[in-house]
């Protein structure tokens, strides 16, 4: 786990080695006729080698757009994306195609992301052949497919079957095997468990966790399920309306969230224990996410924030390190006074950056 000492010049993740994925100042706008939808509006983050970063937020906050931009599946309006130190915007489409073996994706719906007319063997072989890691019909390819199937907990004899012969959980395993096939440095998993049955979710979560421990692969785990995110991630990043509002070590973000929004997200999740559930203080977020085409002025969360003051509508807060390696963007907290509820009681105004 990457619990770091808070040495800021080691970068966000507190790691010394070069990050696998570095995103800085990323903006992705979509044209929606009248105005622009600012899906991703100035995001910087990095994922270290072998690190798992959990990305959470409500639908429409830009999680998937961020993921797609990282894969260069959509072109950002500005900002830089470096994969293993290489600036991807400088790569031509052709160079990028080869480069994509370093970064792979697992999609939410395993039924629609596998070609129903391809055998499992062909689905998993395709990236291996395309990236010239083995020749078509070679013994190496056979062995690679067999190993990949085994590594995701499937019987190698399944290779000659079609996707529709499998259950949802098994299909997601096939999707993971395909992502692992070109031996990537990082996998982006976009809601990989939310389409699965409850009893299957733990299987996939444990599989991803085991794979990252065994192969040292980095993972961006996108989900709205904070319980799952907390379990698998080293760090958690929270997005709201195209902006990063909190990022830090996963245990800290979960147990001592700084932002009122993060608190709301955590509180919204039911706890499977009636005693805890009935006693705990619920903190239900009121209202809904405003449109990303017309975000509120100042702090974008202020319209749903019970701690919002006038200043919040005038100035947009920036991410700053409130606790060691734990960053938040909120005008009402700073490193000396990290507890927003306490600050409210003491009548502290806009003290943040």
């Amino acid at each position: 786990m990457s619990e770091s000492s808070g040495n800021t010049d080691r970068g966000q993740s507190g790691r010394l080695d070069r990050p696998v994925l570095e995103i800085s100042g990323l903006k992705v706008y979509f044209n929606s006729g009248k105005n622009f939808v600012r899906a991703v509006d100035g995001i910087s983050l990095e994922i270290g080698r072998g690190e798992v970063l959990g990305l959470v937020g409500e639908s429409g906050c830009g999680k998937s757009t961020l993921a797609r931009a990282a894969l260069k599946l959509i072109r950002p309006n500005s900002g830089s994306i470096k994969i293993c130190g290489e600036e991807v915007s400088r790569l031509s489409e052709r160079q990028m195609r080869q480069f994509r073996k370093k970064i792979q994706i697992v999609f939410q719906d395993p039924s629609s992301s596998l070609d129903p007319r391809m055998k499992v063997r062909d689905i998993i072989s395709e990236p291996i052949v395309n990236f010239q890691l083995a020749r078509r019909k070679s013994r190496d390819l056979e062995a690679a497919v067999e190993n990949l199937l085994k590594s995701v907990g499937l019987d190698p004899s399944f290779a000659d079957r079609y996707p529709n012969e499998f259950s949802g959980g098994q299909r997601q395993r096939i999707g993971i095997a395909r992502a692992l096939a070109p031996k990537p440095e990082i996998i982006i998993a976009d809601e990989p468990i939310s389409a699965l049955d409850v009893s299957i979710q733990a299987q996939i979560l444990n599989l991803l966790n085991r794979l990252r421990r065994q192969s040292g692969i980095a993972l961006m785990f996108i989900s709205h399920d904070l319980r799952a995110v907390e379990y698998i991630s080293d760090r958690i990043a929270v997005m709201y309306l195209g902006r990063l509002v909190e990022i830090g070590p996963s245990k800290r973000v979960y147990s001592e969230p700084l932002m009122p929004y993060t608190r709301g997200l955590i509180s919204a999740l039911p706890v499977p224990d009636p005693e805890v559930e009935r006693k705990r203080k619920r903190y239900i977020l009121q209202g809904e996410t405003p449109s990303p085409a017309d975000p509120p002025s100042g702090c974008r969360f202020r319209t749903r924030c019970q701690f919002a003051i006038e200043e919040c509508s005038k100035r947009e807060p920036t991410l700053s390190e409130i606790r060691p390696s734990h960053f938040a963007a909120c005008l009402r907290i700073n490193a000396e006074n990290p507890d927003i509820e306490e600050n409210q009681k003491r009548g502290l105004g806009a003290i943040g950056a």
Partner: protein
Amino acid sequence: MENKDQILGSNPILKVENLSIAFKTDTGVYPAVEGVDFEVYEGEILAIVGESGAGKSALTASFARLLPRNGKIAGGKIFFKGKDILALDEKGLRKIRGSEIAYVFQDPMTSLNPYLRISTQLIEVLRLHLGVNKSEARKTAINLLEKVHIPDAEKRIDSFPFELSGGMRQRVMIAMAIACNPKILIADEPTMALDVTIAAQILELISELNAKNKTSTVLITHDLGVVAGIAERVIVLYAGRIFEAGRIGEVFSSPANPYTKGLLQSIPNPADGRQKEPEQIPGAPPRLDEIKAGCRFAPRCQYAEEVCFQEEPKLYKISPSHSSRCHFAEKIHKSSQAA
């Protein structure tokens, strides 16, 4: 919190006896629900939990005989306020549907007519069931939207469904469902399509309406966490059978069935402060055409023995309110109590 014994002692508003439902497909006739017995009591929130294919939606659709055309009630009885639902004709059913037994479905976009304004759809329901005139119905409709906390109801009522967010649409569905003060509200995965923060708001609304109107509520969900927060009793379905039933406290603190136990342990629970990996149940639920002799969960069960593959267990009573379908129910129950 109400006294649970009172709930169990009060009259059941709905009684399901030995109910079986079968579905006809191209390849044959398969049982979706088999030999299910339970009651819904006045004013309670009963949760029905199960994975996809467990039969939860088929079960609740049968209460008002709303099964799809290829589904059929193959056996058993359903009594609503003592009346035999299966003996009712279309006219009798129409009286019950919506006004006495109301439904809220998973996806509000497909349950609302996209071409009609919310006002048109709500007013239609009110006029049909309450026989009031148009302007009265409109007033009542606005009132209902306010009850489900839709801000600016007077203006929003003339919106089309696509102009509302998912959470708002679900609120409209709930408003429509409670329009005629039903005796039972059936909410079939009402938060499935919603964001976590919006889901929390909708659950709070359901719980608030239950407390205020004393409407019995049947909440169908796959999320045991949701159940812990708002329901009084829970029924766990697996492959068309009741596997465990009991009060929330009993089932969560000492599950007596390996399936329930596995489900509870498979949810990562950071509040535990534990580091261990979530327990996983191997395999997947059986498809309807794959059900074999013996216990339906046996192929995935870590406690399964010879007998489990040969003989299907019956539903054993652990306490007057708690039961489990497992040959080793007592043993599992004791081991969860000890843990």
